[in-house]
Subunit: 479 residues, 2 copies
């Protein structure tokens, strides 16, 4: 891994930043702020023609005058001086760069010609680089975030390579909603030197990456992409969203990165051959990554749905059917074991609809334990509902008063959550929650934080479970 051209780009020991200043409006300043905010452990050298210090760091008037040869140069300069800066980096001995600056291949003839010069200059010095026209890279496991937005959550297990920087930076907060984060994220920009295939190959070797996500507008090296993906997919699942399959998507991609996309069915074929799971929205991309990174592989496509609400159960059944999953009947053994716990209003079909349970704890404790052992099922989808208002009423009725009420409510919800999470994480079958509640609910938040996938709707849960089944199928096919 350390030999890979992207290693130093994602794991630099020292960084030069070209384009940061004390003007908070500049993009370069934002990038430097982000690097500082994630508490980067090595030296950071701002290069600035005039300023003596930049954001509190000693600044250097030129690359040449840097006190050492940094591992990485991050270039956020005006387009017209980027080539020159790359040359200065090369002369200093720098061998890795991220070029954030835009105005190259995506901006007409002149830009195309400058991009060519940029690449030639880098090659003449043996420099490998990401970009131009990208928003950088993030590796929270290394306290490294060279993008213009702050990375505020814990490091994660999703390795992302994206032909749109937005699907790196603008996902920081989105992923945090679910307690998720990146292992490493690359915004590849115009791919003048390294491309999405390189990123995928690097991420496959990264020990923090459990699953690889790709946002694709077009693939420049189709054969190598398929070949690499086939080698990677058997050990690390790959999920891709492709935006160029429609006419409008194709045109938008062209404006964005200057590359031409192909029809949907061509990419369907590419993904199939590569053993890659295709997602149809960005939410799906991350939903799939979430489940692929946390769930064991299912033995088949048979699923039991546990619910205490008929509607969410019926919607889950409907969604499972549309996603190509089967809902088998419960085994006789499970029916026998369940009988003691069910009220007369319950249904022992699939979905298992408890309506309510005599002891509310049964729903999160004994019942899922029985269901997951059913011989007819390969996976469980469970409706997660724990409204704080109901717990609050119980707490108040038990005589708790004042400020203690909220404390008790939270303690109860978090306690249930921890128990549930511990059980789910020990399951040998995929166990996926679904809920219309979000992380604002402390029961759901507890599950997220413990690494249990609770998808925001039965439809999304069914599709994510399908992705697990599909992954197993693709993996077998490749082998």
């Amino acid at each position: 891994m350390k030999e890979h051209p992207l290693f130093k780009i994602a794991n630099p020991s020292s960084i030069a930043i070209l384009g940061a200043s004390n003007n908070f409006m500049s993009m370069g300043t934002s990038v430097l702020s982000s690097i500082q905010a994630l508490n980067f452990k090595g030296p950071i050298y701002p290069v600035h023609p005039k300023e003596k210090t930049v954001l509190g760091l000693a600044a250097y008037p030129s690359v040449e005058e840097l006190p050492e040869v940094p591992d990485l140069a991050v270039i956020v300069l005006p387009t017209r001086i980027v080539v020159e800066a790359m040359d200065a980096c090369g002369k200093k001995g720098i061998r890795h760069a991220i070029v954030v600056s835009g105005g190259f291949g995506e901006s007409g003839e002149n830009g195309v010609s400058m991009q060519k010069q940029l690449k030639e200059t880098a090659q003449s010095h043996g420099i490998r680089f990401l970009g131009p026209n990208c928003i950088g890279a993030v590796n929270p496991h290394h306290n490294f975030n060279a993008t213009f937005l702050t990375y505020g959550q814990k490091p994660g297990f999703i390795g992302m390579a994206s032909q749109s920087g937005s699907f790196i930076t603008q996902m920081f907060d989105y992923l945090a909603l679910f307690g998720l984060g990146f292992s490493t994220g690359f915004s590849v920009g115009n791919e003048a030197d390294t491309d999405i295939v390189d990123c995928m190959e690097y991420l496959a070797q990264c020990p923090n990456t459990k699953v690889i996500g790709l946002y694709i507008e077009s693939i420049r090296r189709g054969d190598r992409f398929i070949e690499s993906a086939r080698r990677i997919a058997p050990h690390t699942p790959i999920v891709a969203y492709y935006a160029g399959g429609t006419e409008a998507g194709r045109r938008a991609g062209f404006s964005h990165t200057g590359s031409l996309a192909g029809p949907d069915r061509v990419y369907d074929g590419v993904f199939r051959q590569g053993g890659i799971i295709r997602a149809y929205s960005i939410e799906e991309l991350y939903d799939f990554c979430w489940c692929l990174g946390t769930c064991p592989a299912p033995s088949g496509n048979r699923v039991l749905v546990q619910t205490h609400s008929g509607g969410p159960g019926a919607v889950a059944a409907d969604a499972c059917d549309r996603a190509g999953l089967l809902l088998p009947p419960l085994s006789d053994e499970t029916r026998g074991r369940l009988a003691d716990y069910l009220p007369h209003t319950a249904s022992m079909n699939n979905p298992v609809d408890l309506t309510f349970t005599r002891d509310p704890r049964d729903y999160t404790d004994v019942i899922p334990r029985l269901l997951v052992e059913d011989a007819n099922t390969d996976a469980i989808l469970m409706y997660m509902l724990q409204p704080p208002s109901s717990v609050r009423r119980a707490v108040v009725a038990m005589g708790v008063k004042g400020e203690q009420v909220e404390e008790e409510v939270t303690a109860y919800m978090e306690g249930r959550s921890l128990e549930m999470a511990e059980f789910i994480k020990g399951c040998e079958k995929p166990f996926i929650g679904f809920s219309y509640a979000t992380g604002e609910n402390s029961f759901i938040r507890g599950l997220y934080d413990a690494g249990v996938p609770v998808l925001p709707s039965p439809n999304r849960a069914a599709r994510a479970l399908w992705a697990l089944v599909e992954y197993v199928r693709l993996r077998k096919k490749i082998a």
Copy 2:
């Protein structure tokens, strides 16, 4: 409207509650708590054989002994004594009821027979009722919430009739995420007396209802449903989710409410004839309601996408195409007017991708104003992004310190939000936002609170805009 059998069920002046006690574990107690929590304005009479007071209210040993004839009886008693209770209500002169109790038509032969008795008993007294096996009704405009969960947000404009109680109560918190709420919501349960058609007809007359949502597992009165919907749809849009279209969904629905669903294509036909827009998930159902209840009707299906992030723009374009929307080129006039505001990295295609703007305010101020006036477009989809970390950096760089920083950040974000909302609400074309950020972001929260739809992804925004276009098409077809 006041003559409608559901009027007193949704707007009672006084309520008797049968089945509430001081045992916080009982469902009846939860229902009474909810009624109290929403600050119901009329008298509430708990009926309890032994308790003198229930949740602080004077209780009565029998219906007969109530001091007046209440408008509505809410019955949450054990199944075996429900018929008897209904009879007692009739004898007292009560003419409206909600029967929450389950164990009737959905629970085998004995239940079916008891449901028949229940209906006959009610009819013999001229009582109209909702249920059994429902979770009640909510009308926040009347401070009335006879369900077992607390209604905590403001009254809204979505009138909902649901064959699953969950899609009423469990949506309280879900809708609150987006600043939405119900005008009135009915859980119809087994529909022994009033059914989803009655609810739809009532909601069409309700002045607080701008759009009707339906959750359907099966329709018992198909002809009347179509006929009513055709009358209602031209003035109040109707959106339906149907769970019974797949085999698994059909079986789940049967377990849930004991009614038999029909194949997908039959319901497609029913919806088409009724002028009803079909949603394919519960999220979509409420997304469609949100936009139909807040946006003007579009003149056609041409949409301009405004973004400053290439990826979300490309995904929006792809999603619009898949949803059957067109992305026309900008008119020459708009191109001319825009030119002054765009950096050289921007794209004047559609999506209009600004990449950035020299003055950040242009993105939310002058540019959307120019785009919405474009002669080639019927609607705008706009990517909404305002990361607090960027604003915070600017605020800190301007010298603001300490606690004031967060105040300034919030004030700025809310200010932009209000300006934006004011403009959007004045538009004569649909103007729909999309963002991966949620209401935790104060810019997005401000838009929600002002009644501007900001959908959680470009895909959902495109589908919701499609629903507006489809509504206009269906309305024309009916006329």
